[in-house]
């Protein structure tokens, strides 16, 4: 176990480490930090009627407005949650009714938790959902479809607008997990035509502990997941997490599309490919900050640990309930077989330093040379 102190000492080194695990958690944006601090100084409960309470409520409603504007929803149709896991669960709970559930094969675990009674929509080798298959399922009756906008492991984007149009043609409801896309590329619920959208604060540079579910005006939401107290117009009980929500909104306001990161990402990808890596999801439209690199024959966890020792923080697929190192269900669904246990995810944070690609290239080459001496040597000599 590495102690907190040890980490602090290391982080004080002059630009030694590079955090390239933004899809697990983005570094907090300074604007968000400032907003958190202000909100921490506010005493009131946003539901109290006195001046203190009204102050708190103003922060809450301003945040709601900021998010609604940015993501194309009406403020009164935005419900703050503790995070995206709750938002996804809430969406499926509220919108399910008597509909059959259809989920994408590469969804996040918070959606896959419902897989037992769902139809799984297949994906192609790039990780893109197969809409022909969806159409034939939609013909069979009322459905709730859950499809993510951008995949957390590969960055692959789904054709959401097309999916939404298809769903609406058949009277189906579409829920979109937009966690990894929001703040990184333009996302608007109304423009996409979906019925609901789940967002996470800490995946776009806000603090941990806040998320949101946005509902279109015609989303047939029926019931809350967490009851009691009547907050959020009865859609979510519990005192809202004011500082986290204030930071969430400030991060949203500060987030700009991540095109700058595409150049760095491409350089990282090229460096890995030179060492024999395969880019999972290549050929699909992808998030600019994400690449998923499989190194044939080398276990993902060994790669992650070796890179960590070299000062590069990446992950083997989703962070979630750590410890577990299993083959990625995302890559398995893409038909990558054994490679599904041999891929790392590199995801650049909003504040990635320009020398991170070079640092990664050096570290990756050393890692590959150590873990795959024969092949890496051959590649280096080529």
């Amino acid at each position: 176990m590495v102690s907190t102190l040890a980490w602090q000492n290391r982080s004080q080194g002059s630009g030694g480490r590079h955090y390239l695990d933004a899809n697990a958690s983005e570094p907090l944006r300074p604007e968000a930090r400032a907003a958190v601090l202000v909100a921490l100084g506010v005493t009131g409960n946003p539901s109290s009627v006195h001046g203190e309470g009204r102050n708190a409520r103003r922060i809450l409603e301003d945040a709601r407005e900021t998010l609604a504007m940015r993501f194309g929803a009406r403020p009164e149709r935005l419900v703050f949650t503790s995070g995206a896991t709750e938002a996804n669960a809430f969406a499926l709970h509220a919108l399910r009714g008597a509909r059959r559930l259809i989920i994408g094969a590469t969804e996040h675990d918070s959606i896959r938790a419902h897989a037992r009674d769902a139809t799984v929509l297949t994906a192609d080798r790039r990780g893109v959902a197969e809409l022909d298959a969806l159409e034939s399922i939609l013909r069979q009756g009322p459905a709730l479809v859950a499809l993510m906008l951008a995949n957390n492991e590969t960055g692959t984007l789904q054709p959401i607008a097309e999916t939404a149009a298809l769903c609406r043609r058949y009277g189906a409801i579409l829920h979109v997990d937009a966690v990894q896309a929001a703040g990184r590329l333009p996302v608007e619920l109304d423009a996409l035509g979906a019925h609901s959208l789940a967002l996470s604060s800490h995946k776009l540079g806000g603090p941990l502990g806040a998320g949101a579910l946005m509902l279109s005006s015609d989303a047939p939401a029926e019931r809350p997941l967490i009851t009691g107290g009547g907050q959020e117009r009865g859609w979510r009980g519990g005192t809202p997490a004011l500082p986290a929500i204030a930071g969430f909104a400030a991060a949203v306001a500060a987030a700009v599309d991540a095109d700058r990161l595409a150049t760095l990402r491409d350089a990282i990808e090229q460096a890995a490919v030179r060492q024999g890596a395969i880019v999972c999801g290549f050929g699909a439209e992808r998030l600019a900050n994400t690449t998923c690199l499989a190194l044939p024959g080398v276990r993902a966890d060994a790669q992650v640990i070796a890179l960590d020792l070299e000062g590069i923080a990446v992950s083997a697929g989703a962070a979630c309930s750590s410890g577990k190192v299993a083959a990625s269900h995302v890559l398995t669904a893409m038909g990558l077989g054994a490679l599904a246990g041999q891929a790392i995810r590199v995801s650049l944070p909003w504040n990635a330093e320009s020398d991170c690609a070079q640092a990664f290239a050096t570290a990756y080459a050393r890692m590959a040379a150590r873990l795959r001496p024969a092949l890496a040597g051959a590649a280096a000599g080529a």
């Binding site: 109290s48 001046g51 996804n88 938790a113 502990g209 009980g237 960590d308």
Partner: protein
Amino acid sequence: MPDTALPPARPNRPVYLDNQATTRCDPRVATAMLPWFTEQYGNPHSVEHVMGLAAEEAVEQARTQLAALIGADAKEIVFTSGATESNNVAIKGAARYAARTGGTRRRIVTVATEHKCVLESVADLAEEGFEPVFLTVGADGLVDPDALRAALAVPTLLVSIMTVNNETGVVQDIAGLAAIAKAAGTLFHTDAAQAVGKIPLDAAGWRVDLLSVSGHKIYGPKGVGALFVRRRPRVRLAPLFSGGGQERGLRSGTLPAPLIVGLGEACRLAAAEMEEEARRIGELRARLFDRLRAEIPGLRVNGSMAARIPGNLNLTFPAATAAELMARAPELCVSTGSACSSAEIEPSYVLRAMGLSEEEAGRSLRIGIGRFTSPADIDYAAAALVAAHAGTVVPA
């Protein structure tokens, strides 16, 4: 006394006496959280790299701090987004798990004066085929143990009784009530959101199975709470939502490390300062109550004064409504009852359950004295309430 709690020479304006609705985040808690909002931004589940490990370690330290405060083992603590979620998970989770695994007990016993989220969770379960039973309380706000025994004559799945009421501050005898439930083979849950840090808690010794905790009621941040889930014998719950499998599958979602660090620090401070703080706050309450009683004949206190946390007063005024008092003393932050879905200023169902008429409940105020209340604040509050009650508008 900690330096941050030094009383100001003049009253804070406005004077905040609504500490059962929420509390100011203690500056020491904010300080403890700060690094986790800035340089230490790792995901506590990313244990493959050092940043994630550091966050995980901080989360585990907070878990230990919280466990120590409530008399539990760290392994028995599940972090949530707050007490409302904890109560939802405890009540719905216990009932659904039992039903799913073939349990035949359907009765769920709770109390009419519970927090809304407990009552609504039980109501949700009624729709799923469970049988809710609501116990009443006496004028003192206390549950009659014999009434609980009688309700348990029918084999019962779960009893949920709050440790401290959020409107009256009345403290139930949880150890005694839990013993009755245990004797009947029933699970026992207590919503301790208002009790943690105010009175000593002993989850293990009291033999409760489930206990809910809130962060922002104990000078910690909003957006975090916890649920104690007994391990020996192990209490099984169905999660409210899944995915990711964090918190041993009981509560999925990335743990908000900064908020959890804040909750842990709030618990550490409460453990260290509870005794001294209770004494100090108790003196402030006595000072306020004595002044009000002396100058407002006919003033009544709702609920037992003996079985009550030191910081709470719930008072029925003889000649003015709560709304009038609050309008005439706008610089005094008090409330008519639970905050929750405000705007609705309707007479408190808690007070109604204690036998007050709707009209009497409408003349009642909840006053919550807290860590940052100064003697000067109390003097201001006493003067303002006396004046407001006499019909005077207190200038800002």
